[in-house]
Symmetry: C2
Subunit: 165 residues, 2 copies
């Protein structure tokens, strides 16, 4: 259950890991500060709005929304409450299941994400997409796919699951 002797990382592995760790540390801050500056949003809040905007009737159950945004329910609950206070989303009980709550993007929220998306996409392009070749884009998708499969084997947090249904 634990290794007799540790298999340390060789040079190539260490380089890849150190850089990935740096990206993990720095990239979220870059995304957050652009969104914060231009729209008073965190990247996670943006992502919540984006998932709602793509859903039928711009509505999703909290559990479904949590899965699509790779977050726990408590975290989502806090975030949605704050977005509700700002008039960006609204919550209402699910008619089919009295336990469940639906979250819906308001008209104001829809307007806001439409206004915010171009700047955000530009940031993603500038720091990720446009610095890579098309082959590297493909490689990145495969690499992150493999990592996600080990981090989230059952695809409970479905965001990146290999087979896009």
């Amino acid at each position: 259950m634990f290794p007799v002797s540790t298999r340390w990382l060789d040079d190539a592995e260490m380089t890849a890991w150190v850089r990935l760790a740096a990206v993990l540390e720095l990239l979220p801050g870059v995304l957050d500060s652009q969104l914060r500056r231009d729209a008073e949003l965190t990247h996670y809040e943006y992502y919540v709005m984006a998932m709602l905007s793509e859903a039928p009737k711009r509505t999703l159950r909290m559990t479904a929304l949590a899965r699509r945004t790779n977050a726990t329910l408590p975290r989502l609950s806090h975030v949605v409450k704050r977005l509700e206070d700002r008039g960006i989303v609204e919550r209402f009980p699910c008619p089919e299941d009295a336990r469940a709550t639906n979250a819906r993007l308001t008209a104001a929220g829809w307007k806001k994400i439409r206004a915010t998306a171009p700047g955000h996409v530009e940031t993603v392009r500038q720091h990720v997409i446009d610095v890579l070749t098309p082959e590297q884009i493909t490689q990145l998708a495969e690499i992150t796919g493999a990592i996600l499969e080990s981090v989230d084997p059952e695809g409970n947090l479905s965001a990146g699951s290999s087979v896009t249904l």
Copy 2:
């Protein structure tokens, strides 16, 4: 300064980005919980200890330590204070420059990271290194290198800079 018409992401770009975003969201939590469970450490605290353990005399100036751990000075300052309270590092004024502070790993800290490293490396292997082929390890290093260069052009936060001085 902002684009006339947004260049949206195509399918391949979107897949890569969605998965990378998922990794950004999920992987830190996986690392943190293993370290927290086994050693009462966050991944960032571990990284601080690791950088100190590799430095001459297990000592670094706060500024240098902040750069190597991809963090701001205020963040590091708070973290080092907490580690100091736990007897893992100690701080003392730098003799050459009265403004500067040195952080040094204590004997207890050295012992602790030696005990913690195997489990942490095993986690990194399990979720990142061992799920990738050797070619993918190389690709990952190049991809993250390119991202870091755009996120941190001057290499102010040196962790992953292309040319390892």
